[in-house]
């Protein structure tokens, strides 16, 4: 080992040790837990603990609520990621326009929901979504639309929560995209304009390639975020109505911490881990193809 290599190891050792302690070790233990039937009976007496191999996974795959939760989570991600990123991009483009005044003020106002407490805002949004007295239904009534039971109808509960989530989180990616937009080459934009490129063509061929890597990053983070959505349904609907907003993480929380079936819950965590890993790999591959990474 050369002196340089030694120095490198010395500098990275603390970080590696911390990663091993707070990430590798707990993950390994959780995986070990997922092949046992650790439940409240094991909490009572360790002698009740049994090795069950893939039993937890087989059990899981035969539980209708698990598939329901998977479906709900997929719906959250499929609808939520375009909604959230689309909102961020649209607002960032608007704010980037030269004619907009008081830009810092707008940025602060639009970023504010991101840093507010989720529980407090969820309570406010629950009032907004109220079927009888909510502001949203009152607004709909002025244009003659029938009132919607937003959080009480299994078909509208996910869209309702997504509206709230989008409002809550779009500010973060908006700031990131604003930064990316500021480095879009203006001379290229001028040249395109002189060549007769319209708004859409300029966006497609000048802006998009420039902010591509940032968009990809935002997409990866959003997908991972939406697959782990928990607090919003927990506060807004408790997973209801008719378990239509029970997500995979909510399911895991109930199994693990509410009912203390840690074996089963670890199996869910393992499945979730594989899902996020697979999706991120696909996204990275797409990014490579377009030479964004």
């Amino acid at each position: 080992m050369t002196r340089q290599e030694r120095a490198a190891w010395v500098f990275s050792a603390p970080v590696l040790a911390i990663i091993a302690l707070v990430f590798v070790l707990p993950t390994t233990l959780a995986m070990a837990l997922s092949v046992t039937d650790y439940s409240i009976y094991a909490l009572a007496d360790w002698a009740n603990l049994r090795f069950v191999g893939l039993g937890n996974f087989i059990d899981l795959f035969s539980t209708p609520l698990f598939w329901r939760a998977m479906g709900n989570t997929a719906l959250f991600a499929v609808l939520g990621v375009p909604m959230a990123i689309g909102a961020s991009l649209a607002v960032a483009l608007l704010l980037n326009d030269a004619t907009v005044r008081w830009k810092p003020l707008w940025r602060v106002l639009l970023f504010a929901p991101y840093v507010t407490s989720i529980v407090a805002t969820a309570v406010v949004w629950r009032f907004l979504f109220n079927e009888r007295s909510g502001l949203i239904n009152r607004a709909l009534a002025t244009v003659g639309a029938a009132p919607i039971d937003w959080l009480g109808n299994p078909h509208t509960s996910i869209p309702a929560i997504l509206i709230f989530v989008t409002w809550k989180i779009f500010g973060y990616n908006m700031i990131v995209l604003t930064a990316a937009l500021s480095v879009v080459p203006q001379d290229l934009m001028e040249a395109a304009r002189l060549d007769g490129a319209g708004r859409w063509t300029r966006f497609r061929h000048v802006t998009l390639p420039a902010i591509g890597p940032t968009l990809l990053l935002a997409a990866v983070m959003s997908v991972a975020g939406f697959l782990q959505i928990f607090a919003e349904p927990y506060v807004m609907t408790l997973g209801g109505p008719a378990q239509s907003t029970t997500t995979i993480l909510y399911f895991m929380f109930d199994e693990g911490f509410k009912w203390w079936n840690l074996g089963q819950a670890s199996a869910v965590a393992f499945v979730l881990f594989l899902m996020i890993l697979a999706l991120t790999m696909v996204q990275t591959r797409i990014g490579r193809r377009y030479e964004w990474l």
Binding site: I40, L43, T63, R126, P241, K258
Partner: protein, 421 residues
Amino acid sequence: MRIPIAAMLRTAPRALGLLPTLGLAACGSGRGVEPLKFWAMSYEGDYSPMLMPAFTAATGIAVDVQSLPATASHEKLLTAQAGGAMPDVLMLYNGWVQEFATIGAIAPIPSPALVADMFPGVLDATRVGGRDFAVPWSVAPQVQFYRRDILARAGYAEPAEDWDGWLRMGRAIKRQRPDDFVFLLLLNWPDMLMTMLGQTGAAMLRDHDTRGNFQTPEARAAFAYYARIFAEGLAPKALSTEIQDPVAAFAQGYFAIWPTGPTTLLDLHRRAAEIPAERWGTARLAGPHGVGAVSGLSTSLCVSASTPRAADAWTLVRHLSSPASELRYQTMIGNLPARLRAWSSPQLRAPILAPFKEQMRFPAVAPRVIEWERIKVEIQFAAERVVRGVQTIPQALAGLDTRVDQLLAKRRALVEAGTLA
């Protein structure tokens, strides 16, 4: 269901109020600076600090009360036990005593005198393997709170006491107030359905409580009646998260009949400006052929098995469950005393308490398995699916049997192996 802002306002003075008690402990008995930790849920947690100054003055033991939200308390207590962070004294709903005794979280009572004069039937729910692990604190049967004025307009002086009559009364009220509802049965609160299942005589588990037994005529009858109330538009299809302020909704006549427990007395007294006392009354819940046994959220006091200060802890339990404390509690939050001696007090002769007093003698009996709390949630999920038209009753009940079999798999294995009686 409680008002969060009010709870927050209550917390601040409480936190400040702790400072003097801490000081008192330091210069008091010399038993140690740490105050005794006491956890309680809901209004019991919110109002317990008011019972503490008298206790601290009499014994020199300072107490730190932590109020847990009822909906998150089960997981908080389990996590505390797993993490070795249990309080010295804790409140449990009676249905949880067996679970926490089985996992070794709570200690058996040191002397039978502690539970000598309890309301009959109460001790059956908190006895585990022939031993008492808890001192019953309050008895909280559900009754129907009703709007006198709305019922009178529909031609009823009092709510009906049998199922058919309940429906007829509901329809009569609905005809007069088509935009409002009659009953409030929250779709994620299982108490009412549990009562109905008990009243039709459904034996919900079979084979030594190791399998679900829901595909029976009795369970079908209870589910059908429950679903019918919603199908006829007599109850809103709502979760507790949607009815954010049930007291205001009751005052506005959004519903006229509210099956709930004695702590609602506190809510209604506190908000008499919105709903004056002459507008509401209480009556026993309707059953298939008249009044019968109902379930409720009665509470007990337990001492952690791992507390280093067991003697102090039991002193606190003795204080909290004394007739004087229980009566004081009754005036504060409506909870009804579990001690028989307290019932000779004139304060419990108020007519509004009479239905509770009669109902207390008929508690519903739940299966004694530690998975019961979870099974209750599953039963309510099944009922919600029926109410919302996602499944038919036979589908829901078959699914419930499969699910409950799955949940009881470990118990079944232990019973078959002879580890569990």
